[in-house]
């Protein structure tokens, strides 16, 4: 890195070929000629805590705090892992790190008085759950008489999160099968729900920017290839499916360059590798989550500053949606104060700073264009290496991605220890804990989890059990028809009958030769005709 950049550093830059105007291939400068005047970025907070009712309350609260454009809810660990809130292990953590979304009932309670259209709906969870979350959306739209074509957002998630700190204790083939069934179904039925193929988890686990770009492109290529080659879909129908969630850290210009490079790399992949015929196929929906990992425990008010720098970078890079981490990220789930602070950060940027008035305001900067080129170049090196191994799946099998991540994690740890990487308040200008500002902490007690568990236990008995048994048997029978037989229709039926995530996933597991329960503690409560 140099101390100053000049026209010489971008002498070879060809505006038409390398940048394009905002709204023109290769979209380095963004997808809209009018930038944010066409569509403001979605300003949201990730929510999900304690129970569906409490999460619903939080969603209304965030709306009052100015959340606009969309909502975002993250599943708790049990429902993400496809075990129910009343499971012996699940019941201890129901509603602890997210929304206990283990049934259609929970989804209905979550969405109480919240419209399904007019804003994007995003549910974050794990991969296999994609099918069940999609089914919930389909069924609820039907029940409410809402035109499914008008619902948009994302409820599906990629199967690689398991390797990046989001392990769901399910076999990879199980995750892949349900993920591909869900995504294929959505594409064939023109349901505008996307699938998150996220570099965020990789990067929040410790990966650097160049690695994150390479891994993201490799994952996108692998998933799109599977949908085109194995599921027989047209690339132009597949292209609107993925959305990316980028983790944005504090190195301001580098983060902006990363997002610009990503747009260019996807555009080239779409056109040159997959032969996209539609311009829209060259767009990648890029949402930003400011980096939770950078939120320090020490002097948490400093985190407001970090979030601001990061949010500003996301906006100046031209993201479609932004949900920021909160100042208390190193302590607990967001308190109302922390949530309001994060949303206000976005509002102040949107309404007071003027940066959203112009598309790609840093376009043409000698530094930013050089940085964009350099990040892209370095990312291609790693990405090509992954492709030489056979692609993302192969690289994971060989342990390449895991080793790369592990090395980076340890490297960073050493840098912080030696002071080479400065973190203000942590390894520089440290103050005694007693002098630090005491922030409000959002607590979740075990009593809350047990309450959710008991409620589910009681509710389960009130359902039409004969109907559920019938639907689960249909699902089992469909599972036995081979991997190309799409399970979505029978999953939708099961969800409509109020079968839970544990029950649906359990039956699919049984059909695939696994135990009903990934923890081997409970048996299927229904009689399945084998």
């Amino acid at each position: 890195m140099k101390a100053a950049y000049t026209p010489d550093d971008v002498a070879n830059l060809d505006y038409g070929k390398d940048l394009g105007d905002p709204g023109s291939y290769p979209y380095t400068r963004g997808y809209y000629p009018d930038g944010y005047h066409s569509r403001m970025w979605t300003q949201r907070m990730t929510s999900g805590l304690v129970s569906s009712r409490e999460t619903n309350k939080a969603l209304h609260q965030y709306r009052e705090m100015g959340q606009r454009g969309g909502l975002c809810v993250i599943c708790d660990r049990p429902s993400a892992m496809l075990i129910d809130s009343d499971h012996p292990v699940g019941r201890k953590e129901a509603g602890v790190l997210g929304w206990p979304g283990s049934s259609l009932l929970e989804f209905e309670e979550l969405m109480d008085k919240i419209p399904m259209t007019g804003q994007s709906l995003t549910l974050l969870g794990s991969s296999a759950g994609s099918a069940i979350r999609l089914a919930c959306v389909v069924v609820l739209a039907e029940k409410r008489g809402v035109d499914l074509q008008k619902v948009h957002g994302s409820v599906m998630e990629y199967p690689y999160a398991n390797f990046f700190g989001q392990d769901d204790n399910q076999p990879f083939d199980f995750n892949m099968k349900l993920f591909l069934d869900a995504t294929e179904y959505a594409i064939r039925h023109k349901i505008h729900m996307r699938a998150g193929i996220l570099s965020q988890h990789f990067q929040e686990s410790g990966g650097n920017n160049v690695q994150a770009l390479a891994v993201e492109m490799a994952m996108l290529k692998q998933i799109c290839s599977l949908l085109v080659n194995e599921r027989g879909l047209d690339f132009d129908d597949v292209a609107p499916l993925p959305y990316e969630l980028v983790s944005v850290g504090t190195r301001f210009f580098e983060e902006i360059a990363k997002i610009r490079a990503l747009r260019r790399m996807w555009a080239k992949l779409a056109k040159e590798t997959f032969g996209a015929k539609k311009e829209k196929s060259c767009h990648l929906l890029i949402a930003v989550h400011t980096s939770g990992r950078t939120m320090t425990y020490q002097q948490p008010l400093n985190n407001i500053v970090r979030t601001t720098i990061q949010s500003l970078a996301g906006v100046m890079a031209g993201c479609s949606a932004l949900d920021n981490a909160c100042l208390d990220n190193a302590y607990a789930e967001p308190s109302p104060l922390a949530a309001r602070m994060s949303l206000n950060t976005q509002h102040i940027i949107a309404d007071e700073s003027g940066v959203a008035d112009v598309a790609d305001p840093l376009g043409g900067s000698y530094y930013v264009e050089s940085l964009t080129n350099k990040l892209e170049e370095d990312a291609y090196e790693i990405w090509n290496h992954i492709e030489d191994m056979g692609g993302m799946n192969a690289a994971l099998e060989k342990g390449f991605i895991q080793d790369m991540l592990r090395e980076e994690i340890l490297k960073r740890q050493r840098e912080v220890e030696t002071g080479e990487r400065v973190i203000v308040g942590v390894n520089k200008l440290v103050i005694p804990q007693e002098e630090d500002f005491a922030i409000p902490i959002q607590e979740v007690t075990t009593g809350d989890s047990e309450g959710v568990a008991r409620q589910m236990e009681a509710w389960k008995k009130t359902r039409n059990l004969a109907l559920i048994e019938d639907k689960l048997n249909q699902l089992y029978s469909d599972c036995r028809k081979g991997d190309r037989y799409n399970l979505m229709p029978s999953i939708i039926e099961a969800v409509r009958a109020y079968a839970t995530v544990g029950e649906i996933a359990g039956v699919v597991r049984l059909a695939r030769g696994y135990s009903y329960d990934p923890f081997n503690m409970i048996a299927c409560p229904f009689t399945i005709q084998v």
Partner: protein, 136 residues
């Protein structure tokens, strides 16, 4: 005098939390310091951690915590006591608010390491506590 036995420590996550980076880093820090690490990984119930502690005859247990579900730590401490292993120090590390730290210590946790604790402080903390326990 017989050579002192190498210190052996369990590093584990607890419950359903899948965040392993912190645990991985601490495991490496301890290994670099010559401590033997038994890395259990994810989905460890308190019972499983106690079983491993028995099987491996460890000197200390280190738990990486991301969630606010401290009841699992309380369960771990209670189980250790039940098995007559209450003198094995339990260390916690992770995203733990200040008031929880005191509560955990009151319940019997030996020490809580905050995010970004230095390698030196972790190693020193564990070694001195274990040696203190051995001397008893």
């Amino acid at each position: 005098m017989a050579a002192e036995k190498r210190i052996k420590v369990i590093i584990s996550m607890i419950g359903l939390d899948g965040h392993i980076t912190g645990g991985q880093v601490v495991a490496q820090i301890l290994r670099d310091a010559g401590i033997e690490v038994v890395y259990l990984g994810t989905y460890q119930t308190p019972g499983m951690i106690v079983e491993a502690a028995v099987q491996e005859d460890v000197d200390a247990i280190g738990v990486s915590l991301h969630a606010s579900n401290y009841s699992l730590i309380e369960e771990l401490l209670a189980l250790l006591k039940e098995r007559g292993m209450g003198d094995i120090p339990v260390f916690c590390g992770g995203t733990i608010p200040q008031h929880q730290i005191q509560q955990l210590k009151d319940k019997g946790v030996a020490e809580v390491f905050l995010p970004r604790s230095t390698a030196e402080s972790i190693v020193t903390g564990i070694v001195s506590t274990v040696k203190g326990t051995r001397a008893d």
